[in-house]
């Protein structure tokens, strides 16, 4: 066994950390307040390879290993939860499906622009106003073949990056009689007539990541825009989500590390009862517990990423990593606020934002409850 990052991964971690420290972290509070994405950083991220975590080299990608991809999202999360979410969704949800299931033509059309940041960020539309955790029964967006075209009608909700995306990969019901084999992922270019992207949702956290409701009104796209084979959409989605879970776990890890660093810095500066806050046992035990939880989450996230890289089954491990890391991040941010006291509750200090950002992580890309269902199923069946 080896618990150390290799030289390539360490260099990558340092580079992404330095980049985020200069170009993202200083602006996190401002873009949270404005609830706007940091568009000015996207092309710069493209040059580093941050927008091509899941894209093969031949289409402008980095052909990156899963651990390095997790490291990148972790470092982005350390700098800004919202930006990290948009970039995680771009890579894991927007690019990965095209990389994994797209035809040569689809890859050539979309991946170079997405990997450089020139055409925007990728987006995947699964959730609907009436269907989230239960896509199989609840999904009502319908795509019907009409000659050489799909005609799509329905609505989607909580779609990350929709306003930034050149193309929205949309999960549609294409054969209502076929049960789980009746879904397809269809590429819908964002300028297509009949596709309405609603204004950005007003969210508690991850506010620098735009989230939108979508309406499809007789949206017509070529039949060739289906990703892979028609009828495979649900199975493809489940595979995509396994990878996304590692990413959200890594993102949560970054938020928690940032919150703990803020708490440690404050505890070393603040004096009370004639001592430093960091000298009081009540603080020291909190800091120790936070570090233990962060380390545990890191091992779980890296394990899942490593399994993915090795081509081994990782559904159970990704669910465990996401469940633990996301709930851990909320606990660590809570403790960080507690250590900063009133200042922690103020927008003047970043832990308040981190707490709001962390809160989403137990909901997006599969709630904690869904993760427990996934884990329990595998625990019970052995």
């Amino acid at each position: 066994m080896d618990f150390e990052l290799n030289q390539e991964q360490r260099m990558w971690q340092n580079t992404v950390h330095d980049f985020c420290d200069q170009h993202i972290r200083p602006y996190a509070a401002e873009f949270d307040e404005k609830a706007e994405p940091m568009k000015m950083t996207f092309r710069k991220m493209g040059a580093l390879g941050l927008l091509a975590l899941n894209i093969p080299e031949e289409f402008g990608g980095a052909g990156m290993d899963a651990v390095s991809a997790a490291i990148a999202i972790d470092e982005l999360g350390y700098a800004d939860g919202g930006t990290a979410l948009s970039i995680a969704a771009h890579n894991g949800l927007g690019c990965a499906p095209i990389s994994m299931f797209g035809s040569q033509m689809q890859k050539e059309e979309w991946l170079p622009g997405l990997s450089s940041g020139e055409s925007g960020l990728g987006a995947l539309a699964l959730t609907e106003p009436g269907a989230g955790s239960d896509l199989v029964r609840g999904l009502s967006t319908r795509a019907e073949l009409d000659g050489d075209s799909w005609v799509i009608n329905g609505s989607k909700a909580w779609i990350t990056n929709a306003s930034l995306a050149p193309v929205i990969i949309t999960l549609c019901r294409t054969d209502p009689e076929a049960g789980t084999a009746g879904f397809s992922l269809i590429l819908v270019p964002s300028g297509t007539p009949g596709l309405h992207i609603h204004p950005s949702e007003k969210k508690m956290g991850v506010r620098s990541s735009p989230t939108h409701a979508l309406t499809f009104e007789n949206v017509r796209v070529p039949a060739a825009n289906v990703l892979g084979e028609a009828g495979q959409g649900l199975y493809q989605t489940l595979q995509i989500l396994d990878g996304g879970r590692i990413s959200i776990g890594a993102l949560s890890l970054g938020i928690a590390r940032a919150a703990l660093d803020e708490a440690i810095r404050y505890a070393k500066e603040r004096e009370l009862f004639g001592k430093q806050l960091a000298d009081l046992q009540a603080t020291r035990f909190k800091l120790a517990d936070c570090q233990v939880e962060i380390d545990a989450a890191q091992l779980l996230v890296y394990r899942a990423a490593w399994l993915k890289e090795e081509g081994k089954p990782f559904t159970r491990e990704a669910a465990i990593a996401k469940l633990y890391a996301t709930e851990m991040a909320e606990r660590v941010c809570r403790e960080a606020i507690q250590i900063l006291g009133s200042y922690g509750y103020s927008r003047e200090y970043p832990v308040e934002r981190m707490y709001r950002d962390a809160r989403l992580m137990t909901i997006g890309e599969g709630t904690s409850e869904v993760q427990r269902m996934v884990i329990a199923k595998r625990v019970i069946s052995g």
Binding site: N6, Q7, E8, M11, W12, T15, D18, F19, K44, A47, L48, G49, A52, E57, A62, M64, S68
Partner: protein
Amino acid sequence: MKIIVCVKQVPDSAAAMSVEDGKISWGDAPLVINPWDEYAVEAALRLTEAQGGDVIALSLGDENAKEAIKHALAMGCSEAILVNDPAMAGADTQAVARVLAAAIQKIGGADIVVFGKQAIDSDVGATPSMVARLLGWPAVTLVSEIVECTQSEIKASRAMEEGRQQVAAELPVVLSIVKDYGEPRYPSFMGIRKAARASVPEWTVADTGIDLPSAVVTWPNVMAPPEREVTNEIIEGSNPEEIAAKLADKIMEEKVL
């Protein structure tokens, strides 16, 4: 065009420096590529992007210098050479310049040698000029902009305290680069992968074809500067005008102005 960029490994600028038993220590702070050298690498890469050609990173140092070299490779240098000789530990600037000049001659065929303005550890800033002198090439230091570069001539703008100076020099030439040149690029993941897998040849001083140069400067004693006594005084007043007036009086009283 063949460009050699010289890079050095230095303690991180955030490291706390101290003096222990007459030797400078930075504890266990990480070593990084000299920040000025990143600008030099950037300048070298931009020149070859415009002109075609290769950039070779050259460093004199021990095993630790490999990190600086890997950084330069990850930014886009095509190859790298490390001159690693324990006899050079603690060498002075002229000894370093002699070894670098010999290594540059051994590599051969360079049109331009690029340095950062200075290294942040010793802050001497004389190496580029010394290397140029030893090679018999012109030295264009403190370059903030390369106005034009052909196969035979370079026109550059120098950032000096007095203002800007435009100079032209024939190739081959030695340049030193300042911050105004432009932000160095971040290594890409692809660059990092290439750098991590690259093998870096190591030379001793003897391999460069010269005898071990002896130091002409020695440091009989090294001490930390005495700590300055600083006192803070908060000037209070009922309105900004009153505070400003009191501050002005105070400044005059202390003979700061």
